[in-house]
Every structure is written in structure tokens, then in C-alpha cells.
């Protein structure tokens, strides 16, 4: 079960994941990111502070956007992962393919630098 919340700050779309992302709920994450892109956001921050779990279905959603974001000059930064969630990204080496920061301030700083 997952809840996805979106809020906008300074032209950045912040997508907050609350709960667990698995094979049954990863579609919610996919839809939220697709909606953000569809609305024209070029800076997307994923708030993972309340994400309790992610399986490969959720990781696959993030990975599926990597090329599209490069082509469209869209930037995405994730932040606030719990240790056990970060471990899942690390096992697969995804921490090197995605931008991951500790908090929202650092994420905004990075996404503004990337967008220059």
C-alpha cells in the first residue's frame, strides 16, 4: 500500500512516497512521475523519507525514466532514504545511476546546479 503526494516549490515538483512500493503498487509511482512530466516539470525531486520499502518493480520505474529524462533535459533527485531502502539501491549499483541526496535542501541545490 502506498500513497503518493505531490507538491510544488519554486518550480520543482516534489513527489513524496508514503509506504511500500512493490509489484502491485509501482504503477502509482509510475503514474505520478508521468503526470509530473506531462505537466511540464523539468525538476523532479522524490521525497523518500516515508518510503518504507521498495522492490525491483519500483526500482524499474526509476530506471525506465533515465534515458527519457536525458533526452528531455529533465532532472530527478531522490532524498531521505532509510538505510534499508538505500541498501536495495546499493545492491544493484543504482546509487551510481541516480542522483541521491540526504535531504531536501541538498536536493534542491543539486537540481538547480544540474539545470543550469
Amino acid at each position: 500500500m502506498v500513497h503518493i503526494k505531490r507538491l510544488q516549490e519554486d518550480g520543482v515538483d516534489i513527489i513524496a512516497i508514503v509506504g511500500e512500493i512493490d509489484a502491485s503498487s509501482s504503477i502509482e509511482l509510475d503514474l505520478a512521475i508521468a503526470k509530473s512530466v506531462g505537466e511540464g516539470y523539468r525538476k523532479i525531486i522524490i521525497d523518500c523519507q516515508a518510503m518504507e520499502y521498495i522492490s525491483s518493480a519500483g526500482l524499474g520505474v526509476f530506471m525506465s525514466y533515465i534515458d527519457e529524462f536525458k533526452d528531455k533535459n529533465i532532472h530527478m533527485v531522490l532524498f531521505g532514504m532509510k538505510e534499508r531502502v538505500m541498501n536495495t539501491f546499493s545492491i544493484l549499483g543504482l546509487a551510481e545511476l541516480l542522483h541521491i541526496k540526504n535531504n531536501k535542501v541538498e536536493s534542491k541545490q543539486l537540481i538547480n546546479e544540474l539545470s543550469i
Partner: protein
């Protein structure tokens, strides 16, 4: 000590599977990080089986067993009746190729193989047991 949990092949039941494994491992004093890896590996195995072996038919049942050893080798078994979905038959794709080919599959298999020490399949009559073992010091 052994634990058993039977569940229908619906992806909405994955949460129940994760809670069952977390509780059992917590009772055994397994650390949060070890437990979360095992939960992840079994979630991946069960969702693969539900999707590829049972077309997410909730009337099809998976049996989960956790066998707590006297030594450090924990045994996790998933028993089902259906087409065998043997992850040992699948090679692990490189992460780079997963991005380039936009493949969403393949990550789960990679995770399971990274986390578990051994994965084997045993066939008995119409039943297949997938046995995953993990040494936890």
C-alpha cells in the same frame, strides 16, 4: 522452529508475505538490515511466481516455509503447483543494458541472486519447491 504461511497468487497479497517474514525473523533476533534483504528476495520470488507461473490467479496457492536452523543456515521454501519458473535459467543482465533496453524485468532476479547464498528447485509429484538458503552469522 518452523513457520508456514499459505497465500493466494494475488499481487495485493505481497504485503502479507513481507509482514509474515519480518515477524518470523524479528522473533529470531535477525537484524533489520539482514531481515530487509531476505524480505526483498522472497517478495521478488513470490511476485515472479505469481505473475509468470500463475497469471496472478488468487485461487492458486503458494506455501511459504521458513526453517530456522540450529546452525546459521536459514532455509526459505516456496512450494507451488504450476509451471516452473526457474530463475537459475535466467542470466543476470548488466545494469547498463537494463537502462538502454528499457527492461523493467531482470532487476528482481539480480537482487535475489545477490542476496541469497543458494537457490535450488526440488520436484515432488505435481509440486515444486524453490529452496533458498542464506547464512546469517
Amino acid at each position: 522452529m518452523n513457520y508456514q504461511y499459505n497465500i493466494g497468487c494475488s499481487l495485493t497479497n505481497l504485503k502479507g508475505i513481507r509482514d509474515f517474514i519480518r515477524e518470523a525473523l524479528k522473533e529470531q533476533g535477525i537484524s533489520d538490515i539482514n531481515s530487509s534483504e531476505i524480505v526483498l528476495a522472497l517478495d521478488e520470488m513470490c511476485s515472479n511466481l505469481m505473475i509468470h507461473g500463475h497469471n496472478c490467479d488468487p485461487t492458486h496457492i503458494l506455501e511459504l516455509h521458513i526453517r530456522i536452523p540450529k546452525s546459521h543456515t536459514f532455509v526459505f521454501e516456496i512450494v507451488d503447483e504450476g509451471d516452473v519458473f526457474d530463475i537459475n535459467q535466467f542470466s543476470e543482465p548488466e545494469i547498463g543494458s537494463l537502462v538502454n533496453e528499457k527492461r523493467k524485468g531482470g532487476l528482481g532476479i539480480r537482487l535475489v541472486k545477490s542476496i541469497m547464498d543458494n537457490i535450488e528447485y526440488v520436484h515432488e509429484g505435481s509440486k515444486t519447491t524453490c529452496r533458498l538458503t542464506k547464512v546469517i552469522e
